[in-house]
């Protein structure tokens, strides 16, 4: 293999010191001259008609500059399905519905003004269970839609599942559910909108889709009668995305509208409670699954029917079935597959993209039933998976073309590191689950591209403008490593700028684990152009043939004669400050050769796929139901680790997010109302909860990836829950099919298995009492 200088090195994030010393400027730190503070009034009911809104008291309050309701604003439609508005008109459909907004000279005055807005509601019957909401005659969330089931026909059938069912020697069938969890970005949401005198908009916002957000805001300007005006999106330092910033939100439009009405910059900044209540969750699912195999353990079919709680409005959560199709059709070789998903409106909070984009929900059902099927067939879980493992060169029923695939090697790594066959102690067990995820972009839009511009200065340093978004995952560092490697520069020579749509090229967004692959390839493409010109200049200067010179250590040098070398900066100055001078600039737009899904959902959505296997050893406390993680191994085929340290960070973070999903996290909604909008009661895991994690990395050198790399942003949290559920089954023989796997659920299952009731008695006891105050 090539001897790399920057690629493959454990380089700390280039912004690490700035962040650790508090100098990084988040949206919370930004303040513009004359800036006002916007606040939002939310609904008091999950479903109600708005009879009237009286804003007169709020408007009279000193310091209040503007109060807006739906009456005051144009019809701006938001979201994937265009079923949402920044301020709600006529009725509210969930507790997080925005009813009014104010701008005032300080946040306290704005808060006080909200109290002065008088809204009279007429409560309507509300519906919180998607299976109920699907029924004929159910209360309609959006009357004009005529039904609560979204018109998004997620439905595929490859091969013949019914025929395969008749042939199968072993079949398992079950129901699995997952619940609401939320991203918990440490940096809460916020934006500042400002219009210039000519009504061009500048908006500072936490977004992972600057180019698409710009388009959304341009549409908003058009609705406001400002067609043709410019929108400039500026990203501050972002404290975590995880999919939450993949859409534009009401608060951003509200900032824009308040700024427009007041002619002043307006900041809307969420506090933590608002962050919990008014941002979107992962999509909860109800999954009915059956899988079957033949005598030898070869999978014959997979049949899945899924119901997704869409909440009251539609964001990307409703499109997660498109990604779920990938593990459903293509995790292991399955010749016959049927899948149908219905997204259903309810009066709950609405869902969004979240790390893994549906994959964790689907994999929970698939990998739990894989273990159940292995047991039925009498085959060891690893062997069962090996029989069915994907291999390089496979084309799945959905048309996914598997190029590099280290799935079996990942299983081997887990088997070895977890000491799979070693006898276990009492109440201990091991379990594993695998994953497939897009690793070479994902063509969900018409373009999956990213642009990069490189300009070199007179000192051999680079300003690199990329469309990519670094929201904490470290893409700036990875891009710098790739470019430094290609041009023989040091990482600190590369200044990555990704913050401003006025200067950065287009990118579809930081999602689908695509940034290293797509933005990395875009940066590499631009660097290659620069390299060609540098070599050309160098060849002339060193009077050597092109093929004899190379870029190394900030120099251009003759390969056979180390005395013949010139510093790149010096070479550039010579080129610049001479007659007919030139400066080095290059652009490159990389759009992977992946495919949009066709009508039947077939299509190779990614250039390559990332595989992985997670294995876990647990000990279950049979008296309390508590699950202790003794060891965790997360093996991934990543193509090539550009930065092993950042990669491990992605895996550790993903696993901890997955552990929370599996064991503790849940947005508790009671009749649509968020009961735990704080870190006290929302059980995200803490530093003290971190378990021993090993993250073996398998490098399969993908021919399409930059230096062979594939995406690894999301996989870390995909198979965590089923691996743990499988380990619990191995330990104590109970199968938990609902997330999170709480001690209560485990204990109840253990008692049920022993033929006891919840209290360890043979008879039932009535324990339903009213709640008490406790803090």
């Amino acid at each position: 293999m090539h001897n790399f200088c920057s690629v493959g090195k454990r380089v700390p994030k280039i912004d690490a010191v700035e962040k650790a010393t508090g100098r990084a400027q988040y949206i919370q730190d930004l303040k513009l001259p004359g800036m006002l503070y916007g606040k939002i009034l939310y609904s008091k009911f999950p479903h109600a008609r708005i009879v009237s809104i009286d804003t007169s008291k709020a408007k009279q309050l000193p310091g209040v500059r503007c109060v807006l309701t739906a009456e005051d604003i144009p019809d701006i439609k938001m979201g994937v399905y265009k079923d949402n508005r920044p301020l709600k008109k006529g009725k509210v459909c969930s507790y997080r519905d925005e009813v009014a907004a104010v701008a005032a000279v300080d946040p306290e005055t704005a808060d006080e003004a909200l109290n002065g807005v008088e809204v009279i509601y007429e409560p309507l019957p509300a519906i919180f269970d998607p299976e109920q909401a699907m029924k004929e005659g159910a209360t309609l969330i959006h009357e004009e839609h005529k039904t609560n089931v979204l018109r998004m026909p997620w439905k595929l059938h490859y091969g013949d599942v019914d025929a395969a069912k008749k042939e199968a020697a072993h079949i398992v069938e079950d129901r699995f559910t997952t619940t609401w969890v939320t991203h918990c970005c440490m940096g809460a949401s916020g934006s500042i909108a400002e219009f210039d005198p000519a009504n061009n908009l500048k908006i500072y916002s936490n977004t992972q889709i600057p180019s698409l957000a710009q388009k959304d805001f341009l549409d908003a300007l058009t609705a406001m009668g400002l067609k043709g005006n410019r929108v400039r999106v500026i990203k501050p330092v972002i404290g975590g995305g995880f999919g939450s910033k993949l859409d534009t939100y009401a608060y951003e439009y509200i900032a824009i509208l308040l700024a427009y009405h007041t002619r002043r910059p307006v900041k809307v900044e969420f506090d933590r409670t608002e962050e919990f209540i008014a941002t979107s969750t992962r999509q909860p699912t109800i999954t009915y699954i059956s899988q079957g195999c033949d005598q030898n353990g070869k999978l014959l079919f997979r049949d899945i029917n899924m119901i997704l709680d869409n909440g009251a409005y539609t964001s990307w959560g409703a499109t997660t079935p498109s990604v779920m199709m990938m593990p459903i059709t293509s995790l292991y070789r399955v010749p016959n597959v049927r899948y149908e998903a219905k997204c259903v409106y309810t009066n709950n909070t609405y869902a969004q993209a979240m790390r893994g984009y549906g994959n964790p929900q689907a994999t929970f059902a698939i990998e739990s039933t894989m273990d159940m099927l292995a047991e039925k067939a009498g085959i060891d879980p690893i062997e069962f998976r090996r029989i069915n493992a994907n291999k390089p060169g496979d084309v799945s029923t959905q048309g996914l073309r598997i190029t590099t695939c280290g799935l079996e090697e990942c299983m081997d790594a887990v088997k070895e590191k977890l000491e799979w066959e070693k006898p276990k102690g009492e109440s201990e067990g091991v379990g594993l689950a695998s994953l497939i995820h897009v690793g070479g972009g994902a063509r969900v839009y018409k373009s999956d591209g990213c642009g990069t511009i490189i300009k070199m200065n007179d000192f051999g340093k680079i300003d690199l403008f990329t469309g990519a978004t670094d929201m904490g995952q470290g893409s700036d560092t990875v891009i710098a490593q790739i470019v430094a490697e290609e041009l023989g520069l040091q990482i600190e020579d590369i200044h990555v700028i990704h913050t401003d749509t006025d200067i950065c090229p287009w990118d579809v967004g930081s999602h689908a684990s695509r940034t290293t692959f797509v933005a990395g390839n875009a940066a590499l493409g631009a660097a290659k152009k620069i390299k060609a010109r540098l070599l050309e200049l160098g060849a002339k200067q060193l009077e050597a043939p092109l093929e004899k010179i190379a870029l190394r250590d900030r120099h251009i040098q003759h390969q056979d004669d180390s005395e013949k070398r010139i510093e790149i900066g010096k070479l550039l100055r010579k080129a610049h400050f001479s007659h007919g001078g030139q400066m080095l600039m290059a652009e490159y737009f990389y759009d992977p050769a992946n495919e949009n899904m066709g009508k039947d959902f077939r299509g190779n959505m990614s250039m390559t796929y990332t595989f992985g296997t997670h294995g876990v050893k647990v000990k279950v406390d049979e008296e309390t139901g508590k699950v202790k993680i003794l060891n965790y191994v997360a093996a991934h085929d990543v193509g090539k680790a550009i930065n092993p340290m950042l990669l491990e960070g992605q895996v550790y973070g993903g696993v901890m997010m997955g552990l929370g999903y599996a064991l503790t996290e849940q947005v508790i909604l009671e009749k649509g109302e968020n009961m735990n909008p704080n870190f006290r009661d929302y059980k995200i895991l803490t530093a003290k909860d971190v378990v021993p994690i090993e993250a073996p990395v398998l490098e399969t050198y993908d021919k399409d990836g930059p230096f062979g790399a594939k995406g690894i942003g999301e996989p870390g949290c995909v198979p965590t829950a089923p691996a743990i559920a499988n380990a619990i089954y191995d330990a104590v023989g109970v199968r938990i099919k609902d997330l999170p796997i709480t001690p209560e659920r485990v204990l109840a299952a253990i008692r049920e298995k022993k033929g006891l009731d919840l209290c360890g008695q043979e008879l039932g006891r009535d324990d339903v009492d009213e709640c008490i105050i406790e803090e």
Binding site: E108, T273, T664, K688, G760, D769, E770
Partner: protein, 300 residues
């Protein structure tokens, strides 16, 4: 956040006199880890905060060697208790409880008095102190008084303090010989966690090192206030302490508890955990009592 005036009295009398001047518009504050959160959440809106942090008092727990009483000043931080060799060696039940409250950052500023006067059923600090038969010393305009800490808690968020009164310290009486104690917070994660259930057990043994001379069993989040499971304690006295008798006591304690469903846990599970954890903490207390007796230290 609402604005307020921050007052810094140097003595208890000065603090009380300030409170008398401002009455309802004032609120005492010590570590501030609860008061400030409540102000931010809009649940409290005082115009004056009277800080108790600068009142001269003992800043760590200390033992009165003549009486054998442990004094824990109300303004002592949880971190001070946690790092006290005295507490670690002789009052492990208190150490078990304080070392897992919130985070190090919170324990560095939050005071034990604040934990007690909040009077929430989940107060980790309260359970060990009521198990140890602590008494609350209270100072107010009418002077000093003392009340059993167990009776100090009147209901969720309510304690036996008259307007303007200040909890100044908790006094733990001399421990019987051959005593061991332990506390467990049952929760869902390892830090920043309120207990779904808190269980403290104290056992004093006869000279035979197996017969129970005295038992203390306390429960948090098992009723509207921290409680002692008196029937369960009674069941143990005079009996040989072993897993079996402790399990019986645990079961009785479960029945004595008034657990409810809440978003933090369901009643049946809490009741079951009372039984399990009383047994476990009892065994731990027994082991500690034996160890103490062996090395011949403490608990005189």
């Amino acid at each position: 956040m609402r604005k307020f005036t921050y007052l810094v009295p140097k003595t208890l009398d000065e603090a009380i006199s300030l409170y008398q001047s401002y009455g309802e518009r004032a609120k005492y504050i010590a570590g501030g880890t609860d008061v400030l959160v409540k102000i931010k959440e809009g649940k409290l809106a005082p115009d004056y905060l009277i800080s108790l942090k600068h009142i001269i008092s003992q800043d760590r727990p200390f033992l009165n060697h003549e009486t054998g009483e442990l004094y824990v000043g109300a303004f002592v931080t949880h971190r001070m208790i946690e790092t006290s060799p005295l507490v670690q060696a002789h009052y492990p039940i208190l150490y078990d409880a304080v070392k897992n409250i919130g985070s190090v950052q919170i324990r560095n500023v939050a005071t034990i008095g604040g934990n007690l006067v909040n009077a929430v059923p989940s107060a980790d600090g309260a359970i060990p102190l009521i198990t140890l038969d602590g008494k609350a010393n209270i100072y107010g305009a009418k002077g000093q008084r003392s009340v059993d800490l167990l009776r100090f808690f009147l209901g969720p968020g309510q304690c036996d303090l008259e307007r303007g009164e200040i909890l100044t310290e908790v006094v733990v009486p001399r421990l019987l010989p051959r005593t061991g104690s332990a506390y467990i917070k049952h929760g869902r994660r390892e830090a920043m966690e309120l207990p779904m259930l808190g269980v403290g057990v104290l056992l004093s043994l006869e000279a035979d090192m197996e017969t129970c001379a005295k038992a203390g069993i306390s429960l948090g989040v098992a009723a509207p206030t921290p409680i002692r499971a008196l029937q369960a304690e009674k069941h143990l006295v005079g009996k040989t302490i072993n897993e079996e008798t402790l399990a019986e006591a645990g079961k009785i304690a479960g029945e004595e508890s008034k657990v409810r469903d809440s978003i933090r846990g369901v009643a049946w599970y809490r009741r079951e955990m009372v039984a399990v954890l009383v047994t476990r903490m009892g065994m731990k207390a027994l082991e500690r009592a034996s160890r103490n007796a062996e090395v011949g230290m403490g608990n005189k």
